[in-house]
Symmetry: C2
Subunit: 278 residues, 2 copies
């Protein structure tokens, strides 16, 4: 049975991402209390796979997670996109009038701003994790207290859902990477790759690289520049590309190395595109 | 006297950014408890200027703050880069052996991971804000409790610094925007601009735009793609550019509008580059 490490406890959004990506598979979950613990588990223990949030359409990219992948030499072997839907849940047999306080993660609280504003008499308290808040209510059989968490969390901890979809922005999603210790990576079918490279900041150097990519019919789905702290005029770029033909991608990898301003190109992973074209 | 709105209380990093950017000026600070409150203050009250964190070299861009600028029709009129240095501070007359608990913001706690690991007997508790933690200790004259906050906070609240520069990564900086209600904006000298535009995701469309920019000798200092949630194959881009000659920039603005795949170009601000070339 596969052993899969996640950040958070059962019922959290990472767990939901695992359920979607590994639907129909048997696996054992390992709960990690931080992203670093997750990276270490995948790099150094007997965990087969890790699932790690990398960006949210509202909050942006978790840059520190890219750093963890580099630091622990982990490879991206897949991706999954999850809509973020928040539910208000409590110990069974209560309704909204019974709720005096809500526990949740600060990000979830922010994402449910309008719902919270509409219930000004309820005290809001920050909690380390959405699902952990649900677990606390369940284990302690707390009444008068509700959690904002995923539908999964309500099922996992036997709580009753009082309100569905209380997030302010309804089309919010989080992208998760499926990660492996690079020594365990196998090259299956892939049509997407995540690259990181540095370029010296001369006018037109990035444009030269993107021209090469587009001349081969390769599409870019993400680009993000990161200033290099100690060298203010050099930049790192995180770039995701998708392609129909692996040969075009192989050509790109050869030709891109010859561009003089580019250095330290690293392939963070080659995997199957997880986003469905609507 | 200028009225300047910040996110956080006196002594926070926003306050330090104000002190640096408006050195030698007289101003009155308005403390806001959230970024939204700050945006509303600048847009709708008698506040002249707002100072708003936009990105950190480790944690990345605060995308939601770009959204607030658009939502409240605010313009960027300047920028300032601040090194993030954390200090451990407590009520005077104590040393590290007296400290049983530390209060700070979760981000600051993360940034001081190694220091915290080296003091495992001290309990760590999350607090809404670094400077607010320092204020709490000062107001309540709490002993045995320390805060992780800026040097500014120690001065502001009369606390004693126990340890300096306890952050794990020493070259961490945060970039702050100086923002105004757009009706109050004046066009002074500028050599930098922040743009947002959308492009239809066809191969090479971004490369076409960047080629135009570089052909005019204009340098890009930031690029970040944001998927548009309801249209998965369209992207927004945040792009910062710097230029020596305003005429090149004016040419670019005219020519870029004629690129068919680009739409909804908006100039978020034109301002003086705040980053010194080392």
């Amino acid at each position: 049975m596969k052993k899969i490490a996640i950040q958070g406890v059962k019922g959290c959004f990472h767990h939901a991402a695992v359920s979607k990506y590994f639907e129909g598979c048997n696996y054992k979950l390992m709960e990690c209390s931080s992203f670093r613990e997750l990276a270490i588990a995948v790099a150094k223990s007997n965990v087969d796979i890790g699932v790690m949030a990398i960006e949210n359409s509202i909050a942006g990219t978790i840059l520190t997670n890219y750093s963890l992948l580099s630091e622990y030499n982990l490879k991206i072997v897949g991706e999954v996109y999850m809509p973020i839907q928040h539910y208000l849940m409590a110990y069974p047999g209560q309704n909204i009038e019974d709720i005096k306080e809500i526990y949740s993660h600060p990000m979830a609280i922010l994402q449910c701003e309008l719902f919270i504003d509409a219930h000004p008499y309820i005290k809001i308290s920050e909690y380390s994790d959405t699902a952990a808040a649900a677990k606390y209510i369940s284990v302690c059989k707390k009444k008068g207290l509700a959690a904002i968490a995923s539908e999964n969390a309500a099922q996992e901890y036997g709580l009753e859902i009082i309100f569905k979809n209380i997030q302010t922005i309804t089309n919010n999603f989080t992208r998760f990477f499926i990660i492996k210790n690079c020594y365990k990576q196998k090259n299956d079918y892939f049509n997407k790759a995540s690259l990181i490279f540095k370029i010296l900041h001369t006018t037109g150097s990035l444009s030269q690289i993107l021209s090469l990519i587009s001349s081969l019919g390769i599409n870019m789905t993400k680009i993000q520049s990161i200033p290099i702290i100690q060298r203010p005029w050099e930049y790192s770029f995180y770039v995701d590309i998708i392609f129909n033909n692996i040969r075009d991608y192989e050509k790109m990898k050869k030709r891109i190395q010859k561009i003089p301003c580019l250095h330290q190109l690293s392939i963070m992973g080659e995997y199957k595109n997880g986003r469905i074209r609507s």
